[in-house]
């Protein structure tokens, strides 16, 4: 068994604070994806599958280089190919590696009801613990990026672990290592933000991409996977990257006010009937037949006479 361990910042479905919250300081790890240098080679897809050892699935050609329509429980990262027509009518191929974004404020974790099924380590990696997963799929509900996927055979949810087994041993994630052009880069969040901003500036100043920028959406507290986009104003063009991803309002509502409201309502409901009992007690028939003693356990209705 691995000796590697990581502190935990958040735990899903957990009563009270996470054991590691606010007690450990750790560098936030981050994956930088520069879509402007992605060549859609899918090395990251293969490296991921090889490292994690998952089974193969039959795929079908679908008028695209894309391996499959979306990520799968056993296919955690996927290059999305988009033939995109520029304003001047010229064509371009936008390619974006889609995978778990490792949000600072993870919707999956917020939505998950199972204690310890989703954790966020102190280094920022959001990881599913299949042993604790109950397969309810709530994480799908909470994720604005449509990442968690259900394995029908084991009834567990799966997604990219950011190769936490490698990272905890001091290695970089498998996809990062394999990426031939260096479109994928790994390091601390601060460093990656710096690199990304530098690259975006370079794209704006030297390569004519006036709208180049960094995608690190604030709606989910920033992400542990950030993108450099040629056109940061149109992330949807990159295979449906949401412009302003947030944990759905309904999920916030459900995990917040509804819980409190529901919990307290139940509590007060029980309390209410108890007080009522104390105040009014059980019912006694008005037609003279005394049934009161029946309320006591062990008593039988010998008093009931026709």
């Amino acid at each position: 068994m691995s000796q590697a361990t990581l502190g935990i910042r958040r735990i899903s479905g957990h009563a009270g604070p996470a054991p590691g919250e606010d007690v450990e300081r750790a560098e936030q790890v981050c994956k930088l994806i520069d879509t402007t240098t992605c060549i859609g080679c899918k090395a990251c897809e293969v490296a991921c599958l090889e490292w994690n050892g998952y089974t193969f699935t039959d795929t079908v050609f679908d008028n695209s280089y894309q391996t499959m329509p979306e990520t799968a429980w056993n296919y955690w990262n996927l290059i999305k190919f988009n033939e995109h027509e520029r304003e001047d009518g010229s064509i371009t191929l936008l390619m974006r590696k889609d995978q778990c974004m490792h949000c600072a404020d993870p919707g999956c974790l917020a939505a998950c009801p199972a204690d310890g099924a989703i954790v966020q380590y102190t280094n920022g990696i959001v990881d599913f613990q299949q042993a604790n997963c109950i397969g309810c799929g709530y994480c799908v509900t909470g994720c604005p990026f449509d990442i968690p996927k259900f394995n029908p055979a084991t009834k567990k949810m799966f997604k990219c672990t950011l190769c936490v087994d490698r990272v905890s041993e001091g290695l970089e994630p498998a996809c990062i290592k394999s990426c031939p052009t260096g479109c994928l880069h790994f390091g601390s969040k601060d460093d990656m933000k710096g690199l990304a901003e530098t690259r975006a500036t370079q794209l704006r100043e030297n390569f004519g991409f006036a709208k180049a920028g960094v995608y690190d959406p604030a709606g989910v507290g920033g992400t542990g996977v950030i993108y450099v986009l040629h056109d940061v104003t149109n992330p949807e063009a990159y295979g449906g990257l949401p412009k302003d991803p947030r944990i759905p309002l309904l999920v916030r509502l459900w995990k917040g006010p509804v819980k409190w409201l529901g919990g307290w309502s139940m509590f007060f409901g029980v309390l209410g009937v108890a007080i009522h009992y104390l105040r009014y007690g059980p019912k006694i028939p008005q037609d003279g037949h005394d049934n009161r003693d029946d309320s006591a356990p062990g008593h039988r209705d010998e008093g009931v006479k026709p």
């Binding site: 039959d58 027509e85 064509i91 936008l94 390619m95 390569f207």
Partner: protein, 879 residues
């Protein structure tokens, strides 16, 4: 590659054409991205399709497949017209100033001087330099060169090449084999040679100087003409031309541009000339020999470079020594023919490294025949077969089809799938007596006898005996492979071969030793070369690759002493390098280029030094590269004529005045003590010592300059000279299987073939992982064409050529646009090559089990004999 993979990061400008490195060389392509990231380098991609390489480019132009020379010719014209040329480089390091013989004519009508229509060959007598001295100032009186208006009246005659380039400017690989003397018949009269004292005009004004000829040749390649031929709109072409030549803006030499290409250039009936055009452009811009420059063949297989270096093709021996022809009646005749003498302006010097040919040759023969190679028997020269004609790839199949080739050994080579014209290859194999296939997976070639379409009845009539031997994969063997940057790297054994599979070298050795035993026991035709072959391997039945590497490096057969340094190599010791080779039989060397790979210091190929003090990605101590561990070829040209680097920030080598030596971050690819004053040319493998803008004599079969010709199957006539549309020296094949289409027959869509990044050739269709990435064959079809034919994405379509058909799914894409060629609307489609009739999907019945190369025509480039896989004509319909 003249340079190397990592060196690409030093560039300022990239032209990627005839190649798709992002898809086919992703890990090498990182250095192109690195140049963009760290130097703001620009990338121009020219391709028939918008590829994944194009996706990272700064400028993409969609070109018609097969019109590359027109594009590059236009670039040449643009550079000259706008004075974006490296003047000093051009004068000193190229033959721009050389005067060409009177009588040489440019192909304004499509033919150079000396063409004989009967034999479809050129008499190259006029393709030569003029003898004489400095003709500067005589420009006014000289006879100009006129366009050539009729076929040459000179008698047809061919001759062996005298001054071939070897691993020179036209490529370090198989392109380097161009102009093989071996392919021609016996000479009718003494072959013309280059004059030792060439006439020149350093002002470049002489009307017959190479520069003026170049200018005249490409004056016809106007932007309008480029648009007519290539389909690239004039404004886009000008944008690209301006961008690429901007490295030489105002003659400033600091910036460097590189050209990356692959089989998109070689696989044409004028492939060598496309590469020539690119090389000329790079010479014109002074980009060769410099960090971040060069002309770089990407190469598609791990050891395509090594296999060529090793003489794995008919026309060369290891180290690019010419295969002898019947006219080489003895070793001396052969060496006289193949050893060039220098040819240069009198005040200049030329190292002419090929003058060492006798040393390389004798040492090689000693490696082959050891003690049986004696001075008396010409070192066993006649043990070696002589070739009288072209024995290249397509000839094998053609002659097997015609019945003269009876047997074949195919190791790691899926000849049926590779084509061209797979059906012809299948039909050829049906006529063979025997076939031995060494493979790690079941392949199309070994199962040709049950290829789709063969009935049970027909199978009974196929009398070929086929042996399929289980070989070992890469992880089960050690040995070295040579990458396209000429690095030889040793790999180690990780696991034993599975099951009963055997190591390839053991199989070949065991077959050979059995044959030798048979000759020993039974005798037979001329057994001497077989019986005398050296076999000094520790374990004869299992030759260790280390033993073979040592044989390649060579050793001393007698004590040798260098008269200059008094260093002595003892008899039996490994040689330190090819400088030690002798022509008297005292050295043995399997391949002179590889001498230095396994010295007394051990296996140099396994070196793992990761130091790179210059930061240029030279990595002197990682593995070993030929020649003599030089990483950038011709690096003398990175300095001006006084020996100072053109760009001080990218210093490679330089002249050190105090030590009176060439020194640097790289090993100087030059005579180390040649003072710049001596004006020795940096292109030491050419007898001129300079880069050849004009390819003289037999350097090329189809002209000293590249000229645009249409592919054999083309939808249009050649806009430059409609009466000479195709390459005049290209011959069609003539068996019943060889059919060629014209647009008149309804074949009017241009088809090009390529690889995908997800697959490797016909190999990974056996690998579930890669099959998952791209599971099915497809045809990329422009949206507009699909709409016209009522084809939707994922529909089954049938592509038909004059030869056969191919069935796959439609990939309807906006990444290929309709083109206007010479006013005609033309569509191009593209098909990846990776499927066949044996593979995971094929065996599961998930595809049509057709081979793409059933479509491709048998026609080859006249210099490199590479088939024209790109740009042939097809019909397209819904299946």
């Amino acid at each position: 590659m003249t340079n190397g993979w990592i060196d690409i990061k030093n560039t300022d400008m990239m032209l990627i054409m005839g190649g798709n490195p992002a898809e086919n060389h992703p890990c090498g392509f990182k250095w192109a991205i690195e140049a963009k990231r760290t130097r703001n380098a620009k990338m121009i991609v020219v391709d028939p399709r918008y590829t994944r390489t194009a996706a990272t480019s700064d400028l993409f132009l969609q070109i018609r497949a097969g019109s590359d020379i027109a594009f590059l010719g236009g670039m040449l014209r643009y550079a000259i017209e706008n004075n974006r040329i490296a003047h000093d480089y051009l004068v000193n390091y190229t033959n721009a100033a050389f005067i060409v013989k009177e009588g040489f004519q440019l192909p304004e009508d499509g033919l150079y001087s000396g063409f004989d229509p009967a034999t479809q060959t050129y008499d190259k007598a006029t393709w030569n330099y003029q003898e004489g001295g400095d003709l500067s100032g005589e420009a006014a009186t000289a006879a100009p060169v006129s366009g050539h208006s009729s076929a040459s009246p000179l008698p047809a005659h061919t001759q062996p090449a005298t001054n071939q380039s070897g691993p020179g400017l036209t490529g370090q690989g198989y392109q380097g084999a161009s102009g093989a003397g071996a392919k021609t018949a016996e000479p009718a009269k003494p072959a013309p040679t280059l004059p030792s004292n060439t006439a020149y005009d350093l002002t470049l004004q002489h009307p017959r100087c190479v520069f003026q000829l170049l200018k005249q040749q490409y004056s016809r390649y106007t932007p309008e003409m480029v648009e007519r031929i290539t389909g690239i709109p004039k404004d886009q072409f000008l944008k690209a031309a301006d961008l690429f030549t901007s490295v030489r803006k105002d003659g400033d030499m600091k910036q460097v541009g590189t050209i990356l290409y692959a089989v998109g250039w070689t696989q044409h009936s004028f492939g060598t000339q496309i590469i020539r055009a690119a090389a000329i452009l790079q010479l014109l811009l002074g980009n060769i020999g410099r960090a971040g420059g060069g002309i770089n063949a990407l190469r598609g297989h791990s050891n395509i470079q090594g296999a060529t270096d090793m003489g794995g093709v008919f026309d060369i021996w290891p180290g690019y020594l010419k295969t002898p022809s019947p006219a080489d009646v003895d070793l001396a005749t052969y060496l006289k023919r193949t050893t060039p003498t220098s040819s240069k302006p009198a005040p200049w010097e030329s190292f002419n490294y090929w003058s060492n040919m006798p040393k390389f040759t004798v040492s090689y023969l000693k490696a082959m025949y050891g003690d049986a190679a004696t001075k008396e028997n010409d070192f066993g020269f006649h043990y070696m077969p002589k070739v009288d004609r072209n024995y290249s790839w397509t000839q094998i199949w053609d002659n097997m089809y015609r019945g003269s080739v009876k047997g074949m050994l195919a190791f790691g080579m899926n000849g049926v799938a590779i084509g061209p014209d797979s059906q012809k290859n299948i039909d050829a194999l049906k006529k063979a007596d025997w076939l031995v296939v060494g493979e790690i997976y079941p392949d199309e070639t070994s199962e040709f006898w049950k290829s789709p379409g063969i009935t049970a009845e027909e199978m009974k009539t196929i009398n070929t005996t086929v042996y399929r031997l289980a070989c070992a994969g890469f992880a089960e063997k050690d040995g070295s492979m040579t990458n396209s940057a000429r690095w030889l790297q040793w790999k180690n054994v990780a696991i034993p071969p599975p099951g009963e599979a055997r190591l390839d070298q053991d199989i070949v050795a065991q077959i050979f030793l059995r044959v030798r035993d048979l000759y020993q026991k039974e005798g037979g035709k001329y057994p001497d070369p077989i019986l005398n072959l050296t076999w000094a391997y520790t374990n004869a039945q299992h030759p260790a690759l280390g033993d073979l590497a040592k044989e390649l490096n060579g050793n001393a057969l007698a004590d040798l002493t260098d008269p200059k340094t008094q260093v002595t190599i003892k008899r039996g010791q490994q040689l330190p390098g090819f400088a030690w080779l002798k022509d008297d039989g005292t050295t043995s060397c399997g391949n002179w280029l590889y001498s230095g790979c396994w010295t007394e210091a051990g296996n140099q190929l396994a070196r793992r030094g990761t130091d790179d003090p210059s930061g240029q990605g030279i990595y002197q101590n990682w593995a070993w590269s030929w020649p003599a561990n030089r990483r950038v070829m011709y690096n003398r040209a990175s300095c001006d004529s006084s020996g100072k680097p053109w760009d001080a920030t990218r210093k490679q080598v330089w002249w050190n005045e105090s030590t009176q030596l060439w020194v640097g971050n790289d090993v100087p690819d030059f005579k180390p003590d040649s003072h710049p004053k001596d004006h020795m040319g940096p292109f030491i493998m050419n007898p001129e010592g300079i880069g050849r803008i004009f390819g003289p004599l037999a350097a090329l079969a189809d002209g000293p300059f590249p000229e645009h010709y249409e592919p054999i199957e083309s939808p249009v006539q050649n806009a430059l000279h409609p009466n000479q549309s195709n390459n005049p020296v290209v011959k069609k094949f003539t068996t019943a299987a060889d059919k060629y289409a014209t647009p008149g027959d309804g074949f009017n869509i241009i088809c090009t073939t390529y690889r995908l990044t997800e697959h490797y050739h016909y190999w990974t269709k056996n690998n579930q992982m890669n099959v998952q990435l791209i599971p099915e064959p497809f045809v990329e079809i422009p949206v507009e064409l699909a709409a016209e034919l009522g084809i939707k994405g994922n529909d089954k379509v049938k592509v038909t050529s004059a030869r056969s058909y191919y069935v796959a799914k439609a990939f309807v894409t906006k990444r290929i646009k309709p083109m206007t060629i010479d006013g005609k609307k033309i569509y191009q489609i593209g098909i990846p090559i990776h499927q066949g009739y044996r593979g995971i999907q094929e065996d599961a019945g998930r595809n049509a089990r057709t081979i793409l190369n059933r479509l491709t025509p048998t026609v080859v480039d006249p210099n490199a004999y590479t088939p024209e896989f790109k740009g042939f004509l097809v019909k397209l319909e819904k299946a």
